[in-house]
């Protein structure tokens, strides 16, 4: 399909203008307000806030668990997408419909449900206790909660692309003697990579910022299981607005760079 500059189609000014105005009012100006608020700080003060040991620990935890959850989703998401696209089996439609459940389910509900499930006295948690480890109130619990919340991203980005790769391509490769793993590496991987990366990045970015589902299960111990968004809340509750906005700015800049990189990377892969 061609995507060319089309002087014939009207509405460029109108739509671009509206898009920019709306985005500015709803997203950009409010976010700008945060930057303005944080700009009351000098660089040194800003640095002191974001390099405090407790903030660094939360930073590591938030990005670490979100990364891990995105990786897990990268694997099981691809698997789910594969199963849903390539096979027909009983219950396929149900699974397909319910993949989006974590989007639709309020994060607070997810939080209390997962805590009820993974707390040491919960349905799943008690088995873990028998085996001698804990799920809720540890980074493992946070990772699980994030995996749940971001599950749809990879599935939903990989699924349509996978559906567009004709089966014959794989079969042809198989006929030519390729082993399944080789087919996967040389045929499917390159085609799926851009979509997979998008899904991964969205899951990762969403995971870093997730709040509602995590605070119930996290344990919220400073230096250990305290996530960045909670730290913002903690700072706010101490009337430390500048401290809160400083961490907010940090998170925002990191997410923006991340998304931008992914968008660029995707373009590069799509148009070699």
């Amino acid at each position: 399909m061609s995507r060319r500059i089309s002087p014939v189609i009207p509405g460029f000014g109108l739509t671009l203008g509206y898009t920019l105005v709306y985005l500015s009012l709803i997203v950009l100006i409010p976010l700008g307000a945060m930057f303005v608020h944080a700009s009351q700080l000098t660089w040194e003060q800003f640095w002191n806030i974001v390099s405090a040991p407790r903030v660094l620990a939360a930073l590591k935890l938030s990005f670490g668990t979100a990364f891990l959850a995105a990786i897990i989703n990268g694997l099981i998401g691809t698997l789910l997408a594969w199963v849903l696209v390539r096979y027909t089996f009983p219950g396929r439609k149900i699974i397909d419909a319910m993949i989006d459940l974590p989007f639709a389910l309020p994060t607070a509900v997810a939080g209390i449900a997962l805590t009820a499930l993974y707390a040491p006295s919960g349905w799943v948690g008690q088995f873990a206790t028998d085996l001698g480890f804990k799920i809720a109130y540890t980074p493992l619990g946070i990772t699980l909660a994030l995996t749940f919340v971001t599950l749809p991203f990879v599935v939903r980005t990989v699924q349509p692309v996978l559906a567009d790769i004709p089966r014959e391509v794989e079969e042809a490769a198989a006929c030519l003697g390729a082993k399944p793993l080789q087919v996967f590496r040389h045929v499917l991987m390159p085609a799926l990579l851009p979509a997979w990366l998008t899904g991964f990045a969205l899951a990762f970015a969403r995971g870093v910022g997730e709040y509602g589902s995590v605070i119930f299960i996290a344990g919220n111990m400073p230096m250990k299981t305290e996530i960045l968004p909670l730290l913002i809340m903690v700072k706010l509750d101490q009337y430390d607005y500048t401290g809160a906005t400083a961490i907010g700015v940090l998170m925002l800049v990191v997410s923006f760079i991340l998304l931008l990189l992914i968008n660029l990377l995707q373009r590069r892969i799509e148009t070699p």
């Binding site: 399909m1 061609s2 995507r3 060319r4 500059i5 089309s6 014939v8 189609i9 009207p10 509405g11 460029f12 109108l14 671009l16 898009t19 709306y22 985005l23 709803i26 997203v27 409010p30 976010l31 307000a33 945060m34 303005v36 789910l80 199963v83 849903l84 096979y87 439609k93 699974i95 397909d96 419909a97 319910m98 989006d100 459940l101 989007f103 639709a104 389910l105 309020p106 994060t107 607070a108 509900v109 997810a110 209390i112 449900a113 997962l114 749940f148 079969e171 198989a174 006929c175 969403r206 910022g209 997730e210 709040y211 968004p229 998170m251 925002l252 923006f256 991340l258 998304l259 931008l260």
Partner: protein, 290 residues
């Protein structure tokens, strides 16, 4: 059919047969993941809600505060989704039909609310409209309340759901290209006619899909709304906040009952989504066959 073709077909069949075990394992794994990650949380919500019987379940749902929370949630959705719908179409239009400098950045900006922590989304509105915020004094003088009232809740909801419709439409419209629209123009249609009669029918199902996701997310938003709500019982509590309150009131069963209500709404929305998606696929298929 030539001999080599027959041979190829045979080996393809063998490959298929060989993958039957793999297929079974994969499907099994799929089911397992689904059961563990999606079904189990669902089951626990409903079973906890029904722990004390159906009577208490409905009592919790039809309690006055729960109903007013439901009303508030629906109002917030009814305002924010249409606004994001118009935005989504407009954004998808300019991104997919034209090439211009800075497009990458624009697309990234549209995606940005996905990755902004809900807590920050709430915070920025407090910084703007709170009593100590930039517009705080002016709003106070004119007796206008934005945060801790409906407008703030709506704004926060819009913020977190901005990308959904646009995200859904951009790839669809890019794929469809611009030929049909160009043809319509050449045949003398004006801009609106072209949009109504050519573009809209083409993107209809994608649009519904986006709206459905947007609605689902708007209904369930917790973090951002929690920051700007003020938690006034029966007034500024949305349904997800009401769940948290009940949970904090030792009212475990009622909390999970109302959570079940949200879950049922969510499932209903997913059904709608599935339906629209099936329509998209059918359209794609018929388009492919043409």
């Amino acid at each position: 059919m030539s001999a080599s073709a027959i041979g190829a077909a045979a080996s393809a069949n063998a490959a298929r047969r060989g993958s039957a075990t793999a297929r079974r394992i994969l499907i099994g794994l799929g089911w397992l993941i689904f059961a563990l990650f999606l079904l189990l949380p669902l089951v626990i919500v409903v079973s906890q809600g029904l722990k004390m019987g159906v009577g208490t379940f409905f009592e919790a749902i039809f309690e006055a505060d729960a109903l007013s929370a439901l009303k508030l949630t629906l109002i917030a959705v009814a305002i924010s989704v249409p606004l994001n719908l118009v935005f989504g179409v407009s954004a998808a239009w300019c991104v997919s039909k034209y090439d211009f400098r800075g497009k990458s950045i624009l697309v990234t900006l549209i995606d940005l609310p996905f990755s902004v922590s809900p807590v920050i989304a709430g915070l920025v509105y407090v910084l703007m409209f709170g009593a100590q915020g930039f517009f705080g004094p002016w709003l106070q003088d004119h007796d206008i309340q934005i945060v801790f009232a409906l407008p703030g809740i709506v704004l926060a909801t819009i913020f977190v759901t901005v990308p959904f419709v646009a995200r859904e439409l951009i790839p669809l419209m890019q794929e469809q290209g611009t030929q049909e629209e160009e043809a319509a123009r050449l045949l003398g249609a004006n801009g609106w006619q072209m949009f109504w009669h050519v573009t809209l029918p083409n993107i209809k199902w994608g649009l519904i899909y986006g709206v459905v996701l947007c609605t689902a997310r708007a209904m369930g938003e917790f973090g951002a709304v929690s920051v700007v709500s003020g938690h006034i019982r029966g007034v500024t509590n949305t349904l997800p906040l009401h769940v948290e309150i009940l949970y904090n009131e030792y009212n475990h069963v009622a909390a999970f009952s109302v959570a079940s209500l949200l879950l049922i709404l969510a499932l209903f929305i997913l059904l709608l989504k599935q339906w629209s998606e099936n329509r998209i696929n059918r359209l794609r298929h018929s388009a492919a066959e043409e």
